[in-house]
Amino acid sequence: MTHLQPILPGEIAAPVLQLTEPLSFWGGVDYLTGTIIDKAHPQHGACIAGTLLLVPMVRGSGGTPGTIASLMKIGLGPVAFVLGQPEINILAGVMLGQRLYDVVCPVFLADGAEFSAHPTGQGGIIQSDADWTLISTAPSI
């Protein structure tokens, strides 16, 4: 369980995809399919569409928002983001995607060091009173 700071709050249940290294969404993710195409990235070949995406850090280009908003346009964006750092370019992409395409995509901030407790698998974000929590339903190994 990881405590979350709500940025664009919303409850969600979805497959969790954890990025284990910083990723540039421009050039690193195909904006037509959601596939990670950065050959040097550990999650190369994985698809971020429909995932609850854990992003420890964004690297590189300021083109990240364009990839995120373009994926939201065609329904292939993540369904929620949990950020390890205050990544304003993820927020910008999501906010434009919501405004132009009327797609909801919650965004939360968390302690990046706690990400490793959440293996890729089924998971969700739940609210209890004022607290927001990231949970994994996949069994820990």
Partner: protein, 412 residues
Amino acid sequence: MCDGKRGPVLEFAMGLLVAAGELQGAQRLQKIDAAYVNTTFSSAPSHLDFMEWLAGEGVQVAVPTHTNIGGWDARNPDLRVGPNIAQANTEARRLIELHRDVGCHLSMTCATYQLPSTPKFGSHVACSESNAVSYFNSVAGVRTAKYGDYLDMAAGLTGLVPAKGRHLDAPRAETLIFDIPHLPKPIRRDDLTYQLIGYVIGRRAGKDVPVITGLNPDATPRNLRSICAAANASGVVALYHAVGLTPEAPDIQTATRGKDCPREVITAQDLAKAREDLSEFAGGKIDAIAIGTPHASLDEMEETVNWLQDRCIAPDVTFYIQANRFVFEVAREKGWIATLEHAGITIVTDTCLYWRPATRGLKGRILTTSGKFAYYAPAELDASCRIATLRECVESAVRGEVWRDPDLEGLG
């Protein structure tokens, strides 16, 4: 503006800036003098939708707003090749027109700091292009955080950014000294050395602000730019100081704010290793030359003319120099463009060579002076690269095969 009384676009722009500020923990917004937007830069479909929305609502930017490169070079309409090229060109041109419609200056360059309108020392701007962010902060003393799509345009529309990071005096990262010991004179003076220093610093600096000592006191703005560009390909260096050269580093005490900080040495061997990292081949036939990532400076144009010595490049080599319109016009007036074109060199403006759709003839074995190009092009193009000096590029282009400068043996 937040309440929508000035229309939905400004409501969105203010909402985005406020949300970004809250995410970063900013206490207030900061006025800016200019914005430098990246929204011409990508074929991401949301860019066209965003700009059609802005133009349709009839909004205009509030501060001078300059565009980065786009996907279309009006001087070279057949530059791009590949499937659906007609549609890609049409969309790229439409995206540029929409920026004009909302009042942007169509500067179409990643080297905005070369324009005569560059803001003065101490002013605040919003910039997204990584090499320009680094140049503004480090070399020009103009303050900007690293922005990105839509936040940059929101800043242009409102004249505001979150007051955070480089926009504030107080909170700055720790500093890390990189000492460059004595290098042989030809190496010390060549721009390639600055490209390689940038690459090494980008790899090693992490979140610290690099303070470089021991550079040639005659280092030029072009050399300092090369550090910016290469460091922001191999890493993220939004600010660095070069002692005795950059405006916030008259001496090491000022640059480090008098604090003790760790010190690393960059050796000639480190630079040779960096060159190896950025070179996928060492010799043999070449297919193309790419100069100007970021867009070439005037002195790079002049130096190319001088190294050519009235010779032409080999017929089976494609040679591109990319530059912005301002540098292009000055070079044209000096007669350099005619000389370069006569030699067989193609001058590209308004766009970037390693951007898809692919540039005609730019494939195979490519020599470049740019660490940024050598870093990104192999993933973006059907190409392998070698980083070289400008003289080596010109000599190799004339010969059709790699020529290595014997004076630079120490750089591998």
